[in-house]
Symmetry: C2
Subunit: 256 residues, 2 copies
């Protein structure tokens, strides 16, 4: 019996006819039971180190509002972080923020490779297939949107930012989205914050967006704003409007 | 804004190359937040009336073990029961077992139809599409397996049965599975128990299995045997073996 033999990925709303594909790498806090919780404490098990709190609820609502297929990870990023290549030192973290992860210490290369093969590979194969299907289904460019949340307190520092729009090398959608948010004046938004490409967080964008020449953006929402289903719905409805406008502004220029 | 605008369905392990499609109608207890929990009490909200406890965990493990795509409902059966047609009196129950569901009382025909259109239709469209894809992908017949759990105490009566294999009109897989279980002597199993087709529980089997001439079986597991991830894994591993053997026995006869 293989401890890692669990689905790495799920696809929601695969029938959607929107010109968007949504990706949520850190949608799940699931750790296969045979890994004994990786030895982490109860306080970390459902914390932001294990998953992006609220991100799946927000992503599901966006999936329905934008008629966009959603590809969501089904295993905790503590087992393997699907937004990281195998070369990244933090793809299987032995420490995440302030929390030790004993079950990730001293893994053999074969054990690391098994995590990559069972989790990273099917996840990214599915993203590629869903993008292929959506590109064949709709007219015009398909925009890739990855959906994340961030903790309000990081290494003891409180964060005031509410909303970040990040990009790898192509910033048209991110820049347009922040301009729209600034006009709306409802949420505190910025480009390439609280992280940016130099922090190694734009792996999925680069791999599936930039590599195909597709417009793309990574959305980061402070998790205290989406930590109930009702709050996640409200932020998703706000974002659906912003993202739809931003895509129109960015791709209008490209197709003119 | 539409209260029902949430994904009705997710597909796990869509790359699987097994000659099986798994379906879990009652995988989720999710009630769209705008429906205010349908007015049910906290004790019912995560009980067996809202979903099949443990069924998704078991189904996810079976998905990986049998390399079979899994189609899983994403909305509580209290909102719409995807294993019922719109004509069934209990497709949107105003009472479920001993629990009243105030939010389902006195719904207009239009409101019932909206539930059907937003939940039943995309769910069953997705089952049909995943079956189409799997039939095109593999050699030989594809078996449809629906996965459920049942409560140990129903209307005050304790149930000794642990495992049921149900069928609509074609019982070859179900009969073979119970024979295998009897030989194993580990779980207490029976055909067409604790329910059967006359209880109206084989809608999905009939709609997607019998209607296409595919072998099919509905599995019912007593939910106290699968109410943790580790227990669900153990039962799934047991069932993966039984179901693989039963399918071989049933389809060997058919293809000979």
């Amino acid at each position: 019996m293989d401890a890692l033999d669990w689905p790495a990925v799920a696809v929601f709303g695969d029938n959607g006819d929107g010109a968007v594909v949504l990706v949520c790498e850190h949608a799940s806090a699931f750790i296969p039971p045979a890994l004994d919780g990786l030895g982490i404490g109860d306080s970390a098990r459902l914390s932001h180190v294990a998953w992006d709190i609220g991100a799946l609820d927000m992503a599901r609502r966006l999936c329905a509002r934008m008629r966009a297929p959603l590809v969501a990870g089904q295993v905790s990023r503590l087992v393997y972080d699907c937004n990281r290549p195998l070369e990244a030192p933090d793809c299987i973290p032995a420490k995440s923020e302030v929390h030790d992860v004993p079950g990730n210490r001293g893994l053999s290369d074969a054990a690391r490779r098994a995590r990559f093969d069972h989790i990273h590979t099917p996840f990214h194969d599915t993203v590629a297939q869903v993008l292929d299907r959506q590109i064949a289904r709709v007219d015009g460019p398909v925009t890739l949107i990855t959906l994340h949340s961030f903790t309000p307190v990081y290494f003891g520092q409180r964060r005031d930012l509410e909303l970040g729009f990040l990009f790898h090398s192509r910033g048209d959608v991110a820049e347009a989205a922040v301009q729209i948010e600034t006009r709306k004046g409802v949420m505190k938004a910025a480009v390439n914050a609280p992280y940016s490409a130099t922090d190694g967080v734009t792996y999925s964008l680069q791999k599936h967006g930039d590599a195909r020449g597709l417009p793309s953006v990574m959305v980061e929402v402070r998790n205290d704003l989406i930590d109930t289903e009702a709050k996640a719905q409200a932020v998703a409805d706000h974002l659906a409007d912003t993202l739809t406008q931003a895509i129109a502004a960015a791709t209008q220029g490209a197709s003119a």
